[in-house]
């Protein structure tokens, strides 16, 4: 790649300035507000941090939020890889169609898709009617973690598929042919060739899914209900219902930290499976 020296930093300045004023400054403010002890922001001190980190309930909420992200990533992976494999083998026009089917939900409002899952998961909803029809008994889905993971998986799966498909597209077909001609089964070819080579795409996708699922306030509150508490609802409750800004700021920073931890962990996994990948 040729290094360009003709265009200077001046062109990046306007966006940089906007980010400094409207992105970095508010986040720094969030950080400093977390170190106030009262809502009127008069007394500095770590009281709200101590309250958060010292309360097993809130530490549990952080843990559950991370687990929700992990489960959603796992569920999305189980369904995204088969789609990616079909995509890999498919003719160009099928690929275009597949891409379109993947992109469409992504461009459909998250609120709309959350709403759709209420219709599907309700006690007398589509899924339970289907279970009844095949002779099984209905299961509670709304207000359960598995129902929430199912809905989030649909909402977030396109985020995993797009980078995954992009990487798949670039994998050299000869490698697969070589593996097959050496007598490897399709499973073995997938595990030894396609999976490692596609890991960078998976890492990129899993990062987006993890970040998005842990932050999805509306899906969590509408599908999850009152008994499943995650960090976003703590942030919302503390900021907008109880009006305790410093504590809401602490919860927000914990959410930021959880997401960053998840991203670092996912990248570490990526490097273990595919050391050459970024």
């Amino acid at each position: 790649m040729q290094v360009q020296d003709k265009v200077g930093w001046g062109l990046a300045f306007p966006l940089g300035l906007a980010y400094m004023v409207f992105f970095a400054a508010p986040l720094l403010l969030l950080g400093s507000i977390s170190f106030y002890e009262d809502n009127e922001l008069t007394r500095l001190g770590p009281a709200n941090w101590i309250k958060f980190l010292g309360d097993p309930f809130y530490v549990g909420v952080v843990w559950r939020t991370i687990m929700l992200g992990v489960l959603t990533v796992l569920a999305a992976t189980v369904l995204a890889y088969p789609v990616a494999l079909v995509f890999y083998e498919a003719a160009p026009w099928v690929r275009r169609l597949l891409l379109f089917i993947v992109v469409l939900p992504l461009l459909t409002s998250v609120v709309v898709r959350t709403f759709a899952w209420i219709v599907l998961l309700a006690r007398e909803g589509v899924v339970n009617q289907a279970l009844l029809a095949i002779g099984l008994s209905p299961v509670p889905l709304l207000q359960t973690q598995h129902g929430l993971v199912l809905a989030l998986m649909q909402i977030e799966m396109p985020l995993m598929l797009l980078p995954l498909l992009a990487v798949m597209q670039g994998i050299d077909r000869n490698l697969v042919e070589a593996s097959r001609s050496l007598g490897a089964s399709r499973w073995r070819t997938f595990l030894k060739v396609l999976l490692p080579l596609s890991v960078p795409g998976w890492v990129a996708g899993a990062t987006l899914v993890f970040a998005s699922a842990t932050t999805a306030f509306i899906s969590q509150s509408v599908i999850g209900g009152g008994r499943l508490v995650y960090l976003p609802s703590v942030i919302w409750q503390q900021a907008m219902v109880i009006s305790n800004w410093p504590f809401a700021a602490v919860a927000s920073i914990m959410l930021l930290a959880s997401v960053l931890t998840g991203i670092v962990a996912l990248n570490a996994i990526g490097r273990v499976i595919h050391p050459a990948g970024r």
């Binding site: 809502n39 309930f57 549990g60 909420v61 209420i118 309700a122 006690r123 007398e124 909803g125 709304l142 207000q143 973690q145 509150s221 509408v222 209900g225 009152g226 008994r227 499943l228 508490v229 409750q237 900021a239 907008m240 219902v241 109880i242 009006s243 800004w245």
Partner: protein, 343 residues
């Protein structure tokens, strides 16, 4: 890269048209706007369809309604630090005391209301005007469950596994839970019994939700019994939902809901016009009829429709609460409930 080239001018023109036309297209406000907080759900719907057009017609004021429960209104006003997020509050007795203490309300001048004399003597005071009475009790689905009698029934089968629970964020939730605590031997000062009962049935209850979500849950068949006010029941009934209101044998609960002018609001005069419209006989009459079923405070309005009481005088026989005792404990109750129900 394919050569589908977009002309720069076309792009700019499109962007400018998008931005520009939207600017020009901003709806013009006639005699000025008014933003009023309103309870989510049936209050929001009914105020939108009845009070909003009435206010526009009578005073040419454009009303925007922001759906927030009383506790949330106070939180939002406190968080806004002096810049009132809306011009008018709608509050129940408890949050009303809090709002006065926190200095969120403008002192109220009843003389500015043409309809003030139509309210009962206590209807207008130095802080606001009474707009509707609420009655809180048990709501159940008669097609799925036998008629419940007591608050205690909610904690037994067949009711417990169809129960929708909600916490202390709302007035109706708070007073219902207090009455249940009393039924199990507690009091306003001691609500431990209700936490103990909730703990027992928690694994099997149908749902624990935000208060605003209860009507939707009922409509979808997710829950078949809950505690709520009569106006939520009428609204659901009007949509063809199988729901009936029951006054528990321990006594249904009542409280008065009041409208207030926010301190630091931009449109104080319009707020008075709004309150005056809301307590006018015509609007109160309309709000009382199905689907809203809101109990009037205007004496000129004769009680009619599907109401659990015969006359407004009966309200005095129902249970009411001492909010000076409840308020100091409520924040802790909210947090405790939310923690205890979490899986």
């Amino acid at each position: 890269m394919k050569s589908h080239r977009l002309d720069r001018r076309q792009l700019m023109a499109a962007a400018a048209a998008l931005g520009g036309s939207s600017l020009l297209g901003r709806p013009a406000y006639a005699k000025g706007p008014l933003t009023a907080a309103i309870y989510p759900g049936s209050w929001d719907e009914q105020y939108r369809s009845i009070v909003l057009p009435a206010l526009k017609k009578a005073h040419d004021v454009d009303l925007a309604l922001e759906p927030l429960f009383a506790v949330d209104q106070i939180a939002k006003a406190v968080a806004a630090r002096g810049i009132a997020p809306f011009d008018s509050f709608v509050l129940d007795p408890g949050p009303r005391v809090t709002a006065i203490e926190r200095g969120l309300l403008e002192p109220f001048d009843g003389k500015k209301l043409t309809n003030a004399s139509k309210l009962a003597a206590t209807g207008v005071d130095g802080w606001g005007a009474a707009v509707n009475s609420q009655i809180v009790g048990i709501a159940y689905n008669p097609k799925k469950l036998p008629k419940p009698k007591s608050w205690k029934d909610l904690f037994q089968e067949p009711y417990a596994s169809r129960l929708g629970l909600t916490g202390f964020q709302t007035t109706f939730g708070t007073v219902s839970l207090i009455e249940m605590a009393k039924a199990f031997g507690g009091s306003e000062a001691n609500i431990e019994p209700i936490f103990a009962e909730i703990k027992k049935i928690l694994p099997k209850v149908a749902a624990v939700t935000a208060p605003a979500a209860l009507p939707g849950m009922f409509q979808q068949g997710q829950i078949d019994i809950t505690y709520t006010n009569t106006n939520n029941v009428s609204t659901l009934k009007s949509r063809g939902v199988d729901i009936e209101f029951v006054m528990p044998e321990e006594g249904a609960i009542t409280f008065v809901t009041t409208l207030h002018v926010a301190k630091g609001g931009e449109n104080k005069d319009n707020a008075y016009k709004y309150i005056d419209t809301a307590i006018s006989a015509a609007v109160q009459e309309a709000l009382m009829k199905s689907p809203a079923g809101l109990l009037p405070t205007n004496k000129d309005v004769a009680l009619a429709g599907d109401q659990p009481i015969k006359s407004l005088d009966d309200l005095s026989k129902l249970v009411s609460h001492d909010w000076t005792k409840i308020n100091p404990q409520r924040a802790a109750w909210i947090e405790r409930f939310n923690k205890e129900v979490t899986k």
